[in-house]
């Protein structure tokens, strides 16, 4: 938790970067009209709208990009931390003093190196079914690395490496769409493998993005606030593209 501010600052920094690189003027008239709910009134206007279907006077929105790939990095979230390193919230090395002599000697005989935690890298693929709905898969990876050394000789005795790998089916619901900005929520369900030297486990896992924001067109940056295997606050970038005809 001591480094939480780093994540917040980095997320804000990433958001500013994305905003700064997204200041392009909307030049595509078709997109502009779609965003502003423009209704044509003359023959000239109708001729320009070659890809928009009309039902009465209201335009039906079409799927803009059919495929979406993204890579993100998430700050630690409660659920992912509990599974990866359940003792994180309740355990402090400085306060731990074993009671029995064998445990105490073993504890004093060892020095522990810094704990490095990488969490959480995620990679997603979604297929846009409707303009407001996409279905796809989400995968995530998180790890903790820490080595233990002999306090007298300094020789490394062992390393504790713990990994979480998750794969989920993910549904994304877009509730605000403009040319540059999209806001959405998503929910995913799947499995998480907890891997460590002493053994592992396979658990059901979920991931929710309560609020998600993308800025950009084909290439874009995103920011999400959520909970689950992908962490709490996530940032990243993605690429949208259509199928080859």
């Amino acid at each position: 938790m001591r480094h939480l501010y780093k994540y917040i600052m980095a997320a804000l920094f990433a958001l500013v970067v994305d905003m700064a690189t997204a200041q392009e003027v909307v030049s595509d008239e078709l997109i502009r009209d779609r965003v502003t709910s423009y209704t044509p009134t003359s023959d000239n206007d109708v001729n320009n709208l070659t890809t928009v279907n009309y039902i009465g006077h209201k335009a039906e929105e079409s799927v803009r990009w059919t495929n979406d790939i993204r890579i993100g990095y998430g700050a630690p979230g409660i659920f992912s931390l509990l599974i990866l390193d359940g003792s994180f919230f309740f355990y402090d090395d400085d306060m731990y003093i074993p009671e029995t002599l064998p445990y105490r000697v073993d504890y004093l005989r060892t020095n522990r190196g810094p704990m490095r935690r990488f969490m959480t890298l995620s990679a997603n693929y979604h297929r846009q079914i409707k303009p407001w709905f996409a279905l796809g898969c989400k995968s995530s990876f998180a790890g903790i690395w820490q080595s233990t050394f002999d306090s007298i000789s300094g020789v490394k005795r062992y390393s504790e490496n713990v990994y979480n790998v998750a794969a989920l089916v993910d549904a994304r619901f877009s509730w605000f769409r403009s040319d540059m900005v999209e806001m959405y929520s998503s929910v995913g369900l799947g499995l998480m493998a907890h891997i460590e030297k002493m053994g592992g486990a396979l658990w059901p896992m979920f991931d929710i993005a309560a609020i998600g924001l993308t800025v950009g067109r084909s290439f874009y940056g995103f920011l999400e606030i959520g909970a689950g295997c992908a962490g709490s606050a996530r940032i990243g970038f993605g690429f949208r593209f259509n199928d080859k005809k």
Binding site: Y7, V17, T21, Y73, P102, R109, N111, G113, Q146, F219
Partner: protein
């Protein structure tokens, strides 16, 4: 392209900021201190067991009811009761109306001070020349090294105000697991006076075959009358050989 580079840099910055714990380090001297503290505690425990049994012997040897009452309340316990039936001595206490047996001693019919042999669970006490020897024998166990001790208490003197004073010599073994034990050897007789050790040297060897530990620690008791602190603190680790 520039924006992708910025994004990649931002992501890598996040990833490399993930050292969340600086770890910890221990000085080797702390190992010796831990071993010394446990060895001193074990010797003190056995010594106080001896004092309780010696007090029972004192209690049964006197007809002075006032002294008996002082011995019972000050050294055994306010709610304690000492009963002798033939060769059995039962020391019990009452706690919230429930009776608990503290000691169940079988004797050979003689007082300890008169050369009697007393037995209580895994303890055996008997007189040798001018000392009382207390032998502790735990049943052998295949899973751990059995506790054992042989301590000699010499020059025993008792004062109702100051309590017992005596010298202690001998050794004891505390078993933790198979091939994992703490051997305590009293190298220079411990002087026990006014409810605490006053001087003496003990050597402690901690062995843990499983982890490959074999540590030798020498502890010297300091003159508590000059320091005036609790009995578990007035010692110093003289040598700390981490093998």
């Amino acid at each position: 392209m520039k924006r992708y580079i910025i994004w990649i840099i931002a992501t890598i910055s996040l990833a490399t900021s993930c050292v969340v714990n600086d770890g910890y380090e221990h000085e080797p001297i702390a190992i010796g201190e831990a071993i010394a503290a446990r060895g001193i505690g074990e010797i003190a425990d056995y010594t106080h067991t001896f004092i309780t049994i010696a007090t029972i012997d004192e209690y049964l040897a006197t007809d002075d009811e006032e002294l008996r009452e002082q011995l019972r309340t000050n050294y055994i316990g306010a709610n304690s009761k000492i009963e002798q039936e033939g060769n059995n001595i039962i020391v019990s206490t009452t706690y919230y109306g429930q009776k608990y047996t503290l000691h169940n001693i079988t004797t050979d019919g003689k007082a300890l001070r008169d050369g009697g042999v007393w037995q209580s669970d895994n303890l055996r006490l008997f007189t040798t020349s001018n000392a009382i020897t207390m032998v502790v024998t735990e049943p052998n166990n295949t899973n751990y090294t059995a506790d054992s001790a042989s301590l000699n208490f010499e020059n025993i003197e008792f004062d109702i105000e100051q309590g017992y004073s005596f010298n202690v010599s001998g050794s004891l073994v505390i078993g933790y697991g198979k091939g994992n034990n703490l051997n305590c050897e009293i190298c220079k007789k411990l002087s026990f006076m006014d409810k605490r050790f006053n001087s003496g040297i003990i050597e402690l060897r901690y062995i843990d075959e499983g982890n490959g530990y074999d540590d030798l620690v020498t502890v010297e008791y300091l003159d508590w009358s000059k320091i005036g602190i609790s009995y578990l603190q007035y010692y110093k680790v003289v040598n700390n050989y981490i093998i």
